[in-house]
Symmetry: C2
Subunit: 550 residues, 2 copies
């Protein structure tokens, strides 16, 4: 079809969406709000702005003049936040290194991304030591030193972060360049083979921030950000831009709190002192906090928590709501920057009692502004909006990875048919509420029917005395696959397989599941294998139990 | 400098920011909210969506297949809202015709924009009749008929809007095209010569909507949009996209109320019935409403009003605040889509008493997210942030007109040096609050000093018995220029020139102005000439009084 364009005046400025523009806004809103790092540092936004300019100059001094990759290995910190800005602002690319990977995998990602400068918190030096001589592209290693004790390492260190930073001038003019410049890259695991790198441009990150701003201010009554909020992330900042919230919090100049190495007790001390009002984490962390005796007597009633990474179960949501925490679900993945959906509580729902809100709060939610989300069957046809027909979620949005870095074929597979394939199986109802029932590879196919391993986990988990549960499908000659459950009991509880089968029979009686959905075997274990970002690792469970006799 | 880009997967979708994406969101938030037109129509968002699809089909039937211009001559209405979406969504260009212009100027804009289809409310047929035979590009005229009486016109009519619309199918697939496609154009007056056309692309309008969403949700404590808000515009929809709010309100699926032809009494009836909570208008309209006896006994305390177009004076702001209306200032112009700044009330300021809030609420405000705003002196140097040094506001933002349509030289002038020159003279303080003191062409240069005509108007206007006032500079051999005032008295008041000079002398005594700032002449008139959008027309005043003896 035809469209009309009109030539621009020769001097007209073709505005590029750049990360610097988000930072500029922080000085206009509440610049006296603080960025807090543990009990070690408090910066207001004027100071943050100056530090970021110093960091830009530091990367110049280190010889980076755009297009180079900087790897950061750090806990959640004000320094990581500075790097979220300074690295892309200087036209370089931020590689947020996942330090929860095995050392060999970390090495793989650093070499694959071609990091030229590594910023390493001293705690991770022993890990870097194991592969220091095999780093292929790193020219400089800068160490973040927090402890007073002398650093004892065989690595050749090129400087200390704070020292080098504070030597620099605070005068720096943010350069202009194409909004298509790559700003960040990081690695995603969870499938077979090596980690794969996703990457995001300045334009994508600015648009993601603005979409998040709209969604989390006006469209969700249960998680609304306001300028008086205090933001404290509880997901690692190496993981999908900490869901983009540090960019948003900085744009809005919210008070921000970074906890460094996560430990429940120190977190609770910080919580008491800094009074965060908005956070985000995986269910495991929320569970850990709610189970912690130290958290028993603190007031959590002004806290809103966005839960993602894995499904938020109703029992966990209920425990959180009972403590006054406003929990909601967010959904996305490394490939998607991440925000795709969030559970949407309308003006009506938000006034209902807790029980009736549980369904909505644990829902995967509704597609965010600008997210074109479809649920399609195996032939690519959209499934009816009936709240039960299952299909795969495929998406378009202005901030999705455009492939996997140096993995052409895997990128083509991700984007087949012009939509990004999430691999998540879900239904959608007439209100456009989406519920993910499983990862496509975790769906259990038994007796010709699809069964959600997550639904089974939720049912099993609702039994008293259960602390954690994972269900996978194991091969079966007769049925194709059969469900198989790993269970962790709460302290002081001893459960039997028969007890759990009887419990599941109730759901069969209520016609919620078919009788072949009851796992044949329940195996009681001490701990369920998790991925580096705290999700149940079905991959590891399959490796451990693939040959399990059932 | 170098940047890094990474090739995309061959099927990866390069997301374009298109107006259709805003509409899609309306079905996900509160789709049961209604769009109300007077007492004639109530549509929920499902119905609006269907109507827009029908309108898309209608433009297909009328032979438009993209790149054509549709002119709309209508009051604020649900139909105008449908056209805000359907015309650009079909790849065509919406020309919002300013029907307040003189008929010959309206004709000029329609021919200049090359409108192919004209949508005309029946009330404007007599105007169109005056130039019907001189329309050069219009192929079809479609009439909006609301009254039962038969239409009596010499114009050849090609159909009635509602009839044609409702005949169409609701099945229509929104096409994808470049985000650089022009979506809207309209004409700006106020300078010498013919009206000039500004134009905006899909990308620009989507970004404007998102910036407005951020600014009006999280950054301004005095004008925060929430999903329960009821939106009612009080600026004509032909004027700068009604400040972009119909796009935002639709994106968020707010309840929207359109009043048709504006009359204070019918507005008040609608106000009582539909209970709007957010509106925007020029000061004149606010003044009219506050002065209307009919509005005396309605509760306005849940109403927030964004004031723009001209400066909001403190006396008017005070009267509004005394009635419980939360008034704030927004600033922008036709060339800027429009939002550039809004007055920013922090968490602290919002708790202060009314008097101390007046300064901030009448401030031009702080630059919006993504707006790069500078105040520069005549040599292009930024003025100090001292709250008094004057300079011109120049801007970059992702949604500024890239020139004037078919007026190359004027576009070059607008964009000289790569910044859009607003022609507004302002100061900025250390909090980044901006205050416009005048239009550069309205500043009075007397005895070698710049003097703000607006400041003088505010001082004169603070005297009791004054209803309206305008100050211009008139040429003076000795002083260069001298201030000259037009005054409209309130009913029942008779003022003398000496009385007003004595009043102004008080400001001289308080050292707020120099003694030569007192106008030599105060002329008492019945009405002050206004522009088509309700601003004081200093151009007309100058024409009338240029040769005035003083």
């Amino acid at each position: 079809m035809k469209i009309k364009t009109i030539p621009s005046a020769s001097n007209a400025h073709h505005y590029q969406l750049l990360i610097k523009d988000l930072l500029e806004n922080s000085l206009r809103v509440n610049p006296n709000h603080e960025i807090v790092y543990k009990d070690q540092e408090r910066l207001n936004y004027y100071q943050l702005y100056d530090r970021i300019k110093q960091l830009c100059n530091m990367y110049g001094v280190l010889g980076l003049d755009g297009g180079s990759v900087v790897g950061v290995i750090d806990y959640d910190s004000h320094r990581f936040l500075m790097n979220y800005f300074a690295v892309p602002i200087t036209g370089n690319v931020l590689h947020t290194v996942n330090w929860r990977l095995a050392p060999e995998q970390i090495l793989y990602t650093i070499n694959h991304a071609e990091d030229e400068v590594l910023i390493v918190h001293e705690d991770f030096l022993p890990v870097v030591e194991t592969f220091f001589d095999r780093l292929e592209t790193v020219k400089k290693i800068i160490v973040i030193k927090e402890k007073v004790s002398k650093i004892n390492t065989t690595i050749v260190i090129d400087g200390f972060f704070d020292e080098l930073l504070l030597e620099q001038s605070t005068i720096y003019e943010f350069p202009e360049f194409s909004e298509e410049a790559i700003a960040t890259l990081f690695y995603t695991t969870g499938t077979t083979g090596n980690p794969k790198a996703v990457y995001f441009s300045h334009r994508q990150l600015v648009l993601h921030t603005m979409v998040e701003s709209s969604v989390l201010s006006m469209m969700n009554e249960a998680f609304k950000i306001k300028s008086s909020d205090v933001y404290l992330p509880l997901t690692p900042m190496f993981h999908v831009h900490a869901w983009g919230l540090p960019y948003l919090a900085t744009t809005l100049s919210l008070k921000q709190v970074y906890v460094g190495k996560f430990e429940p007790q120190s977190f609770i001390d910080i919580f008491r002192r800094e009074k965060p009002t908005i956070s985000h984490c995986v269910p495991t962390i929320l569970n850990m906090l709610l189970s912690s005796p130290a958290a028993r007597d603190i007031d959590l009633s002004t806290w809103s928590v966005l839960i993602g990474g894995s499904a938020l179960s109703k029992p966990l949501a209920k425990r959180a709501l009972d403590r006054g925490i406003s929990v909601v679900t967010g959904y996305g993945m490394s490939e998607t920057c991440p925000l795709l959906t969030s559970s949407y509580l309308s003006l009506v729902t938000i006034k209902n009692d807790i029980e009736s809100q549980l369904d909505i709060r644990t829902m995967t939610g509704r597609a965010a502004l600008l997210v074109d989300l479809k649920i399609v069957d195996e032939e690519g046809r959209e499934v009816p909006k009936d709240g039960k027909s299952l299909g795969e979620i495929i998406v378009r949005a202005p901030y999705l990875t455009m492939g996997y870095y140096k993995e052409k074929e895997k990128g083509e597979e991700l984007w087949q048919g012009g939509y990004l394939h999430t691999g998540d199986i879900a239904w959608i109802n007439e209100n456009n509420d989406i519920k993910i029932v499983d990862r496509s590879k975790d769906v259990i196919k038994t007796g010709g029917e699809w069964m959600s391993s997550l639904a089974l986990e939720e049912m099993i988990g609702s039994y008293q005395g259960i602390n954690d549960v994972a269900v996978i499908g194991v091969p079966d000659v007769k049925w194709g696959e059969r469900p198989f459950a790993l269970v962790v009991c709460k302290e002081g509880f001893t459960l039997s397989e028969q007890e759990l089968k009887d419990h599941m029979q109730k759901f069969v009686d209520q016609k919620k599941i078919n009788k072949w959905a009851i796992p044949d075997r329940f195996v009681f274990v001490e701990v369920i294998p998790k991925t580096s970002v705290g999700k149940i690792s079905k991959k590891k469970i399959r490796e451990m139990y693939a040959s399990h006799e059932i």
